[in-house]
Symmetry: C2
Subunit: 209 residues, 2 copies
């Protein structure tokens, strides 16, 4: 009945697009107008064929003999990644880590905007964290629905993370960036990405000595 969907693009390809996008932003800042897959590949430490094949999932963005127009390709990738708009993001956890995230200036200009901060500590609720008033985590699901928020960042201790994630899912969140050092469970259709610096360090220490 409906048209057949394109075969889904592999997630591993999606994962590389933000890397390409980041490199293109730097190239543009450097004033470079055109970039060949070979040169981009060199910069990123990968093969040019991989870049070309990745991009080919979404269209033909290059010019044979020339390469890619930096600005055009950047705009195309933004569209593909759904960041040709600004996403509001909820931050849960107003401790040291939440503090650092709330003050981090790198979200604006790359598609994201922290719009509210939650904590469950009565000492903190109602206080300010930078430009935010800290909201009561008990209101999490209701507030998320009210603000129509789809993305959240979790910066709470490991033992609170699963409960927070459950509340986020109840509130309609579909994408979670989890700084808590624990693997959480979510229903199908909800995406989770993890940031645990120790996991990265441990992965590299395997190769040491």
């Amino acid at each position: 009945m409906g048209m057949l969907p394109d075969k889904a693009v592999p997630d591993i390809v999606i994962g590389r697009l933000p890397i390409y996008l980041r490199a293109l932003a730097h190239l543009e800042a450097e004033g470079q107008r055109i970039i060949a897959s070979k040169d981009l590949a060199k910069r990123l430490g990968m093969s040019s064929a991989q870049i070309r094949k990745d991009l080919s999932h979404f269209g033909e963005f290059g010019k044979q003999g020339m390469g890619y127009d930096v600005t055009y390709l950047r705009d195309q990738l933004r569209t593909v990644l759904n960041i040709d708009r600004r996403w509001d993001v909820a931050l849960v956890g107003a401790g040291d880590l939440g503090h650092a995230i709330a003050y981090y200036g790198g979200f604006e200009g790359r598609g994201f905007h922290i719009s509210c901060v939650f904590d469950n500590n009565p000492q903190k609720i109602g206080r300010r964290l930078g430009r935010f008033e800290i909201l009561d985590a008990i209101e999490l699901p209701a507030k998320l629905r009210e603000l129509d928020i789809r993305i959240a960042i979790v910066a709470v201790p490991a033992n609170a993370a699963q409960a927070v994630v459950d509340d986020l899912v109840t509130g309609g969140v579909k994408a979670i960036l989890n700084y808590a050092p624990i693997t959480v469970t979510v229903p199908a259709g909800v995406h989770v990405q993890y940031i645990d610096p120790v996991v990265h360090l441990q992965r590299m220490s395997y190769y040491l000595e």
Copy 2:
């Protein structure tokens, strides 16, 4: 002449070991003595066969009919990952991000210990950041060799990151955790892992709407 090396274990397998280790630490804290691959897999949202095959690269750690002894497997994974010891880590960058990292309590107890902090800002050099005196980044390579440091964390702005990484490599560092939002180039044999929260968010925003 020398004995043939075992076929190298795929890096993707190495990347999962810290996840297993983290889950085992939680299981142990919960008082669980034994865990079956099936139950661990459920907790981590993966297949039990993958866990068993991953572990089989390093030995036979389980008991048929029973599962794995939590403490024993945890110790074995620590040994495999070379974290049955403590690694000293250098932190470069004493800004907001460096501050948050220096104060993060999660390194101790998981194999790592921040042992020195560098910055290139004359206003900061000589001041204190928590328990650290901030050292002059100009002395990076010499100091790293003196202290025999193999692992570093980069928390400087993107435009300074490549120069810092080059200094780290000169100083003998073999593993770099890079918080700067830029892909850096390193010689073969040096490992880099990236933490850029925006990259993670962008990857998930593809699936939204």
